[in-house]
Structures are given as C-alpha cells and as structure tokens.
C-alpha cells in the first residue's frame, strides 16, 4: 500500500481508451463498476469534444460479483455493434476486472460470432502498466490485428508508394498539444516532399491500417506512444523508423537528417541541408532569438525540468544547448523508461531525477530555487506556492493546455512557440523580482470613493462572522449590497436576519 495524493500517469485503461477513441468508428467497452467512465468527462471537457465519446461501460455491480458477468458483456458488445456499427469494439479491462479474473477473451470470442464489426480484448494489466505503456501496447495490438487480418484475406498492400512517404505514429486524443503537432509535422513533411501515408491513431480508420507497409519509413515523434507499433512494423516489413522527436532547432535538424539518410538508402536522392539552413537561420525565429540580447540576459539562469520522457528530455536540451540556461536538474515520471531518459539528458543538466512522487519533485524544486520551472500542471502549482514562474511542457494538463489557437511544440513553428514560452516565464520572474526591489508598481494609494469599503453601519458579531465565511472575491459585493439594503430600509445594525433579507431582496 502506498499513500498517494496525486499521480502523473493515469491507470492502464486510460491509455487504452485514448488510443481506441482516437481512431474513427472504434468503440471501447469498459468492464468496470459505475463511475469509472470519467474518461468521457475528461475527453468532453479537456478536448471540448463535440461528439459523444465512444466509450460505454459494461457495468460490474453486486450481481456481477455474485454470478459473474455471464451474458452481460457479450450482450453489451452485440448491442453496441447493432446500434452504431463500429468497425472495431475494444473490450477494455480495468483494475476491477483484473482481480475478478473473468475470462474476457472468451466473451470476446463469443461476441465476435454475432457482430459485424471486429472485437478485440485490450491486452493490458492494470497492476503492471500505466496509462502510457498501455496506450503504446493497445496501438500495437490493433495494428497487428489488422495487418494479420489483411494478410489472411490477402489484401495487405506491401508495395511501396512511388514517392517517398511516411506514417506518423503516436498522435492521440488527450495528448499534450498533439493536434497542433500533427498539423506541423504534416506541413514539415510536405515541405520536404514526403507524402503522408497515414497518421495513427488520431482520425484514422482501422481499414487504413493494411496500407501501413506502403510507407518508406515511420516517424514516431513521442517516446511514450507508437514505438512498439513502429518496432513491430520494422521487424515485420523492415520499415525503418525515426524516433527522434523534432522538438527544438537542433533536434529538428537531427530528425530531418536521419530521414534524409533513410530515404537516400532507399534510392531517393534528397538533400535537406539547404532547407534546414534556411529554416534555422531565417524562417524559424528561435535561432535568431538565442543570438539576440534578450536571450543573452537568460545566460546562466537556473531552471528545472520535469515531465514525460519526450518533452522533459527535449526541453532540457533546448534550454542548455540552444539558450545557455543552466538546468539544475531534469526529471521524468516515466520510471519504466529511465535509462533512455538518462542517456538523453546526459551532459545537459547537473542532476537527473526519476520519480513519480509529486512531493519529491516539489521538495527538489524548493531546494534548487530555480528562476523558472518547466513541468506539468503539478509543478505549476508548486511554482505558485514558491512564487516561481512555470511553463507547462507536459501532461498531466488542464483545460488551458488545450488551446484553440495554433500552438505546436514540434517542428519549426514549435521552436517559436517554445522560445515564447521560455522567454515569458523568465521575464515574468524578472519583472516580479524588480518590482519587489523597487517596492511595487506605484506606492501612491489609489483612492476610489465610489467603492469605499468603509461604512457607518454596524455589523453584529454573528453577521460579521457569516460575512467572513463568504469567499473573498464576492465578499465586497455582498457587503456593499447588504449595507445598501440596510440603509434603504433604515436598519442601523446588520444582523443575520438583515443579511438574508438583503440576499432575498437583491440577490446580494
């Protein structure tokens, strides 16, 4: 047992649901008790999704506990198949089904007989893997399922496209700035003359999966999702994979050069050097930014970085290598992938922190006293408490991290966005600091007679304590309205009765 207040990565089924619901016309059925379907709330709220989230629960209740699910799961699968005709239904186990140990595969096999669509059981164990690992596995599982199915039907397309092409693997729902990154990557590929063969899982149909082998190579931008799939396609069809995240100027160039090598090996005489040079020096503003005197002022400023492997590693390299900022420590909560992370940030920070305990991260921030933090929403709140500015660079995230405006983190536009993020975090910190030294914005008191809080009215003790219970941001309004009410009616003392009478009369 572990005492836990907060967690960075969610439970396994969240990963499976993220992948399943990213596909078009795929439905997930959770084997779970009532109330475990809050994934729908997250998706509907955070992603501001217009459509109903294609996730249903086959409810585990007392009755199921006593007698087993029996026909219930099978019925729910066939019902959903008839109602919505999904291409695929993914039966998703949860922590509850992990311990009930019902033979869910058997339910899937039986349901498959009566359904038009395909049915799969997500192969994830709640107690062994987290959200990220489960998502990675589920994507691989679905891809493998449709590759094998196509092979059996003999309609697998393995012939390469005539022009160089790519599969972008790992874009998913509820992923940090994934939608914007996807647009940016497509734009980048088009600038390079590379056709996008498929983007999975976001927006893809499972029927497209049999065409995956046509691509010349696979691009896996995020370390956490898609690597298993790309490795599977590599071992099955020898498709090369590029797993360099194009985040930051240097890494984007490295990613493009790797793509160039791979395409050259397959006989496409491409040369991206001119493109990289042009973008770096004149199109993207990030390289110029690091040369400008603004960025000079950031030299040697202390920062800490924490997040998922992809973003924390890339951010650490950007801060140190591209901006001359001193990264005191860099860390990740992806404990299962710590070796990779350590190798990535080697030489770019003083220390490495691998933990999923938010308390430990908070303490490490307090000890380091950096000028800026780059982390998740949790680090943002630590920053608030310690008065240190924070740029959010990784999930877990809130609704404000799903911006409507175009804000990629990857590619050349991504480097511009990151430069803004870094610069704004640090200048805000500097401004605060200067204000403190010089004693605030303006030392003259502002006099606003119209909203003066002073009054001649006497609040008795009960009413005063009641008033104090009202949240600060509306207290002033309640106080003014109540006093106006009392004055209009000639009360000299404000009692609880007067307060409530005022509330009823004027909505104070």
């Amino acid at each position: 047992m572990k005492l836990a207040y907060w967690m960075y990565a969610g439970p396994a089924h969240i990963g499976t649901l993220r992948v399943a619901t990213s596909f078009k016309n795929v439905h997930a059925i959770m084997h779970a008790p009532l109330g475990d379907d809050y994934f729908n709330v997250m998706r509907s709220m955070l992603e501001r999704e217009r459509n109903f989230t294609p996730v249903t629960t086959s409810v585990v209740d007392r009755h199921v506990l006593a007698n087993g699910s029996q026909e219930k799961v099978v019925d729910n699968i066939t019902r959903k198949d008839a109602e919505e005709h999904p291409d695929l239904i993914v039966l998703t186990p949860t922590c509850t089904s992990s311990i009930l140990q019902e033979d869910l595969q058997n339910f899937v096999d039986r349901a498959q007989i009566d359904t038009k669509g395909d049915v799969l059981l997500a192969d994830v164990n709640h107690y062994r893997v987290n959200e990220l690992q489960a998502g990675d596995r589920t994507l691989q599982q679905i891809v493998q399922f449709y590759i094998e199915k196509a092979r059996k039907h003999g309609d697998l397309s393995t012939e390469k496209t005539s022009e160089p092409s790519v599969n972008i693997i790992g874009i998913s729902t509820l992923g940090f700035h994934n939608q914007h990154d996807c647009t940016e990557l497509k734009r980048l590929m088009s600038d390079l003359g590379i056709t996008v063969n498929a983007v999975i899982p976001e927006g893809a149909s499972v029927h497209e999966l049999k065409h995956l082998p046509r691509a010349w190579f696979n691009l896996v931008p995020y370390r956490e999702l898609g690597l298993m799939t790309a490795k599977y396609l590599q071992s099955e069809f020898g498709i090369p994979l590029v797993d360099i995240c194009p985040m930051g100027v240097v890494e984007t160039a490295r990613c493009l050069r790797t793509i160039q090598t791979i395409l050259n090996q397959q006989g496409a005489p491409v040369d991206y050097e001119h493109f990289i040079h042009d973008q770096t020096l004149y199109v993207s503003q990030a390289a110029w930014f690091s040369r400008s005197i603004d960025c000079q002022n950031l030299t040697g400023k202390k920062a800490v970085v924490f997040g998922d492997s992809t973003h924390a590693a890339a951010m650490t390299k950007i801060l140190t290598r591209e901006m001359g900022i001193h990264v005191v420590w860099a860390g990740t909560y992806c404990k299962y992938d710590s070796e990779w992370f350590q190798a990535q940030v080697e030489g770019f920070c003083d220390q490495v922190l691998i933990t999923d305990d938010n308390g430990a991260v908070g303490d490490a921030i307090a000890r380091a006293e950096p000028s800026a933090i780059f982390g998740t929403q949790m680090e943002r709140h630590v920053g608030k408490r310690l008065n240190i500015p924070c740029g959010v660079i990784a999930a877990p995230i809130h609704i404000q991290n799903f911006p409507i405006g175009y804000k990629p983190f990857l590619g050349y536009e991504g480097t511009n966005q990151i430069a803004d993020l870094v610069y704004n975090s640090f200048t805000l910190g500097m401004e605060d600091h200067l204000l403190e030294i010089f004693g605030g914005h303006d030392t003259k008191e502002v006099i606003q007679k119209t909203i003066s809080a002073d009054s001649d009215l006497n609040w008795n003790r009960d009413a005063q304590s009641e008033l104090n219970k009202i949240p600060g941001f509306v207290r002033g309004k309640v106080k003014r309205n109540t006093e106006k009410f009392a004055r209009d009616r000639g009360f000299s003392e404000i009692t609880l009765d007067v307060m409530y009478a005022a509330k009823e009369a004027v909505g104070a």
């Binding site: 047992m1 572990k2 005492l3 836990a4 207040y5 907060w6 967690m7 969610g10 439970p11 089924h13 969240i14 779970a32 008790p33 009532l34 109330g35 475990d36 379907d37 809050y38 729908n40 709330v41 997250m42 509907s44 709220m45 999704e49 217009r50 459509n51 109903f52 989230t53 294609p54 996730v55 249903t56 409810v59 585990v60 209740d61 007392r62 506990l65 729910n76 109602e83 919505e84 949860t94 922590c95 509850t96 311990i99 009930l100 709640h126 107690y127 062994r128 987290n130 709140h381 809130h398 003790r461 009960d462 304590s465 009641e466 219970k469 009202i470 609880l496 009765d497 409530y500 009823e504």
Partner: protein, 472 residues
C-alpha cells in the same frame, strides 16, 4: 409530450427502470465536500490508481490545496495478500496521524476492497484502539452506489458514532453544540435564557445531511422563527462535536439521497423520522417546515407570505423558463426535488432520470411532486430509475426539450447538437437549500437559456456535421 392514458385510470407518477447504463460520478467523490465540511477529519480512500485518477481529475484544483484526503493505493502485493492489510493500514494511518493529527480517519472502502473482501469493519476497531484515533468505515463503492450516495454511506457510519447521552454539566454542553454556541456566542447567560424562551417546548430535533455552514445557519434560523430548536446536525463542523442522539429524538433529512442514514437513525438509534419534502426551492422549504411544525403540533406563522415574497423576487428568472421543458438524465438523486421545484416554476418535465429511487424515504417529496403537477396542470413526468443514457439520447432527440440537465460527459455533445444543457454536478456544489437560495438554483437553470439567448441570431445552433446522433 402528452400522456395518453385511459380516462378511468387515475393519473399518477409513472415509474420505470432501465439498464443502469448511465454516466455518474463514483461515490468516493463525497470526500471532496465532506473533508471540507468536517474540518478535523482525514479521508483515506483505500483503492487503486483508477480511484485516485478520478478524484484528481474530477475534483480539479482542490487537490492542490493540501487536501485532508489521500489514497491508500493498493498494489499487486495487497491484492494477492502477500502483504498484511492490517500492518499496511497501520503504517499509513500512523503516517497520517504524525503529519496531520486528525480527530477522525474515515476509511472509504472501494470496489477493490469489496472484491478482495478486505475486512475494513473488522480491522478498524483494532487499529483504532492501537493508534488511538477513531476510524470510521464507509463503503462508498461504485458496485453499489452512485455519486451523492457516497455521503449517505459516510453519514450512516457517523450516525453510529454520535454520543447517546446528553452531557450533564453546562461546561460540557458548551463544548458540544457548535450551532448552539454560534448562536449564543458572547452573550450573557440571562440573554441565553431569554433566547431559550423563544422556543416552543418540543422533543429534540436533529437534522442530517452535509450542507455548507451558511446554509446550516439559514435553515436553523428558519426553524427558529417557528419556535423550533435544532439540537444538532449530522455532520457537524468538527467530528468531536457530533450531536447527541438519544432514543426517541426526532430526525429529519435535508437531502434526498440520505436513505441509509435515515434508516440507520431509525433502526439503530431508535429515532423518529420526519418524512418531509426537502427544503429545495421555496415550495419545498415551506413544505419541509410545515411538516416539522405539524409533527410538533406547532401552527406555522408567516410561511405563506414568506414563500409568496420569495416567488415575487424570483419572477425575473421564472419568466425565462415558464412554459419550457426540462429533461433530467439523472445522476445525483436531487432530481425529484429539482423537478418538483421547476414544475412549480411553470416548466414541464417529460422525464426524470434518477440513479436510485427510495420511494419510502422520498414519499413526501413524491407526493408533493404529484400535487404540484395537478396544481400546475401539467402531465406527470416519467421517473426512470437506473436510466440508459443511449436510450435517453434517443428520447431527447425526439422530444427536443428546452433544457437537459446532465453530466459533463454528455453536455458538450448535446450543446453541439443545439440542445441547451446544464451540468448536473453544479447542483450538488451550489447552495440550493432554503428560501434564500432558491435564486441560486434558478441562476443555474437559466444560465444556458440566457447565454444562448445572446447567441440566438448568429445561426450557430448545430455545430456537428452529421445529423445522426451517436452516443457512448
């Protein structure tokens, strides 16, 4: 929506029960408001990452305010009983005692503890004796309960901890009664005696249900106007101040989801339950007070005028919803009371979805709903217990109600299809009880209508391409 029924049959409420495939919050969410209400408590949810992730996401920013709740996260070793439950819980509870020193630790049992049959009720008394902090066990799990019923399981467990003897000395008395103290604070004993004279002689009355402190004060004062003294509330601001409950006390619930607490108070504590409509809306508040008065043989004074005044002050809101229809998808058990109030406001209500319907505990509320429908001359709503969200979406499609009260999972998709929605969870967190707060209910109910009124000429009603409605 017309109800086609043969003339010969008396029109009554129509009850149905569907598949139970609906969206609601897990009952462990009750820790979010109960830890704030009971200031010296600590809530320990014994469950998995799934539970933790729910609390973290559903409770949003509250998590960052150093909450007095935490997860005892079960690991594989706990599930396979390689680890000793008692030792593990002892280690965590000692840590909590050291760091927070609460007056009570509430263990929230979850689905997992149910399935692996962890004997929390058995372990608690032993551990309580060993570490010297009361441990209250509530099984608020998704196998058995929905959302607000979580509070019911906690309060039912707390009911067992209320002292059964009134304190004898005055000093002790002062320690006990929080509300009492609040009302008498800083007054001379003779003033208090005068104060006491304002009450009618009646057997002690204890109210149950967790409400924000301002609402507790309002309802207490409301009864005081009728000469009724509230001897205590379950729960209180502090665990150490739980009210005395002796055999023969009268109790009354303020929320519709407290049926277990009610039956515990009746059966275990031998109390008499005053079954009344709930004080939600001016009509409900008046009926609630009248019922309590009638039990104590008091003739209520000024209630009709008071209700009338409140209605007059609500007119600007009421005129926005009069004649409009409302559909409750059902997820928090407040539905019957809210529907009854909105029908009184002049709305029609084709369907009231509700997770669980205790016809005995809610009988007075159901009767008032029926009466309200007759008086307003609107069709009786169908009450759908354990609704099926998919079917409900089809019905919403057919009925095109002016407002759907629903969970967040469906709100945005319905809005995108041109249906006005109000997020149901807000009703559990807003102050909706008593005369004074009727306005707040209508503020919530009318908000989507007011907002969409602003947008109405822009032609942005339906924002999805396909007309087919798909649901989870």
């Amino acid at each position: 929506m017309t109800v086609a029924q043969p003339e010969t049959q008396p029109q009554g409420l129509n009850f149905e029960c569907e598949t139970g495939n609906y969206h609601t919050f897990c009952p462990i969410s009750c820790v979010a408001w109960l830890y704030q209400k009971i200031e010296d408590s600590f809530f320990l949810v014994i469950g998995t990452k799934t539970c933790g992730y729910f609390l973290q996401n559903a409770m949003g920013v509250m998590i960052f305010a150093e909450p007095r709740y935490a997860m005892a996260e079960l690991e594989e070793g706990d599930i396979s009983a390689q680890l000793n439950d008692y030792e593990e819980l002892k280690r965590l509870c000692l840590q909590i005692k050291r760091d927070r020193n609460p007056s009570v630790i509430v263990w929230i049992g979850t689905c997992t503890t149910e399935i692996i049959k962890m004997d929390l009720e058995g372990l608690a008394p032993k551990l309580e004796a060993e570490i010297n902090i009361p441990i209250v066990v509530a099984r608020a799990n998704g196998l058995d309960y929905a959302f607000t019923q979580g509070e019911d399981t906690v309060l039912a467990a707390m009911a067992g901890r209320c002292p059964d003897k009134a304190p004898t000395s005055d000093a002790e008395k002062g320690e006990r009664h929080a509300i009492h103290k609040l009302l008498q604070f800083g007054r001379k004993p003779e003033d208090v005696a005068t104060e006491e004279r304002g009450y009618v002689q009646h057997p002690p009355l204890v109210l149950f249900g967790s409400l924000p402190d301002p609402v507790v004060t309002q309802l207490t004062l409301e009864l005081k106007k009728q000469g009724i003294k509230v001897s205590g509330w379950l729960p209180t601001k502090r665990y150490t101040e739980l009210p005395v409950i002796e055999e023969g006390y009268y109790v009354s619930g303020v929320n519709p989801f407290l049926s277990r607490t009610a039956s515990t108070l009746m059966r275990r504590r031998k109390c008499k339950l005053i079954g009344a409509p709930f004080p939600i809306g001016p009509d409900g508040t008046r009926a609630w007070i009248e019922k309590i008065c009638s039990v104590f043989g008091i003739t209520p004074t000024g209630l009709a005028e008071r209700e009338q005044m409140i209605w007059e002050s609500l007119e600007d809101y009421v005129k926005l919803i009069r004649g409009k229809s409302v559909f409750f998808m059902g997820d928090n058990l407040l539905e019957i009371s809210l529907a009854r109030f909105l029908i009184r406001c002049g709305m029609t209500c084709p369907e009231i979805g509700i997770p669980y319907m205790d016809k005995r505990y809610q009988s007075a509320e159901l009767a008032l709903l029926e009466k309200t429908c007759h008086e307003m001359d609107v069709p009786m709503p169908t009450i759908v217990e354990k609704p099926d969200n998919y079917n409900q979406i089809q019905r919403i499609d057919d009925l095109c109600p002016d407002l759907v009260i629903t969970g967040m999972a469906h709100a945005n998709p319905l809005e995108a299809r041109g249906i006005n929605t109000k997020w149901s969870v807000e009703f559990t967190f807003a102050q909706i009880h008593g005369f004074s707060n009727a306005r707040d209910i209508l503020e919530l109910v009318t908000r989507p209508l007011r907002r969409n009124h602003v947008l109405k000429d822009l032609g942005w009603d339906t924002l999805v391409r396909e007309t087919v409605t798909a649901v989870n």
